[in-house]
Symmetry: C2
Subunit: 243 residues, 2 copies
Amino acid sequence: MTQQLEATARTPLNRERVLQTAVSLADAVGFESLSMRRLAEELGVVPMAIYKHVANKDELLDGMVATLIGEIDPPAPGQDWKSAVRLRVLSARRALQRHPWARQAIESRTNKTPAVLDYMDSFTGMFLAGGFSADLTHHVMHAIGGRMWGFTQELFDAPAGPTAASPAEIPAEARAAMLEQMAARYPNIVAIATSVDHDEGSVVGHGCDDQFEFEFALDLLLDGFERLHEQGWSSTQAKLDRT
Amino acid sequence: MTQQLEATARTPLNRERVLQTAVSLADAVGFESLSMRRLAEELGVVPMAIYKHVANKDELLDGMVATLIGEIDPPAPGQDWKSAVRLRVLSARRALQRHPWARQAIESRTNKTPAVLDYMDSFTGMFLAGGFSADLTHHVMHAIGGRMWGFTQELFDAPAGPTAASPAEIPAEARAAMLEQMAARYPNIVAIATSVDHDEGSVVGHGCDDQFEFEFALDLLLDGFERLHEQGWSSTQAKLDRT
DNA sequence: ACGGTAGGTGTACGGCGTACACTTGTCAAG
DNA sequence: CTTGACAAGTGTACGCCGTACACCTACCGT
């Protein structure tokens, strides 16, 4: 009786708790620092204990992705396909921003767990419900690609640690010289980088409105889909036209 | 005199040879099986020897990506922006298909080596040369995202090993049952999957024309860019419109 | 009272990237 | 011809990783 009681008495650990701890650990330390050993430590347990609840690390990752999918809103009812898709993608994006590890996790996975299939199926259903042909829907799903998950390849990405503190470190006059060098070597990049809201006299590192960029591309695709849909586009026709 | 001669006498190893060997090793064994130790073995050398030519594995990867970029055609001269971009993206895509590790390498990198910046700058230049405003070019570069590299998230991906041999293994009557189950659970996915060239009576695993899908999305974006360009689109205007 | 079983443990193996101290081969200056 | 600096390759070792496998232990229904 006295045995199973108090003090350090742990709740006995289960898949749910493993996954949730893994998620918040990854939130905290990042994808590449998430190891079975670190996770075990976090759970107050020896590494091998985890393997009683997930088969291996891959399955853990799959489970984490499933958890993430659970945070994405279901399709909004009573909306046309376009707003429904838009809302849902933006919901996915919010989930991804809460869990920075997710992009890498998704990219690393081969993607065929039930949770993922469920999500994709439901996503596909939004186009079909909007009257899209199966054919067009198929191609549209490909085209929307990673954006379905709420991310794009962030090509320009933040330069590592621009978090407020650093700017004082560089003499600030050397910065002008550096910018000049940059402009000489990468004229086009500098041209577009400095043009962003260019009236606020920004410098290169100014960063851009990620959210705006994301929606820009998303809407471009959605508008494109819409146009094709209205025109009764079909892939067989398109392939014929191509010749 | 006799000392430096024959037999196993190796050419003395240099950055170039390290990178090239790394590239072909990765081609052969895949991204995640490329290790410093395996590479050293391939070079007939002890692991640490490599570190005399690259600082660490990250730098090796950066070098490999640089090598890959070298395989991408420069912008075709005497073309309008649209065909120039299209041709170049398709060239990048071909390079990526020759080197299956490259997608993962690019995704894993934080992307700011000179080689990458050169490529991005030159890419950017194609839009600017086409008369795009710096503003529109900026957003367009974001939108084209990973496609600049010649890949999209391959969401549906080949199911591991469908390489001709396997189909006989499954009793072929059980396959119908499985398909039925699939259709019950993922009706939409099955709907679009079976619709591809649906007159050839295909099944789910039939696979789709990757190249077509890629170009589909690419052209959708390019057409969108073109339309915005013609309309004198500007982001400040767009942001105002949004309210 | 007892045997099965689910959950947690401990040890160990083979891999990884790479720090650091070393030998060796080469070549220019004394 | 000697020397000694320097670049290139070596060997050993450390701390991390995922996880196989044998073990213990506490609980359960019989």
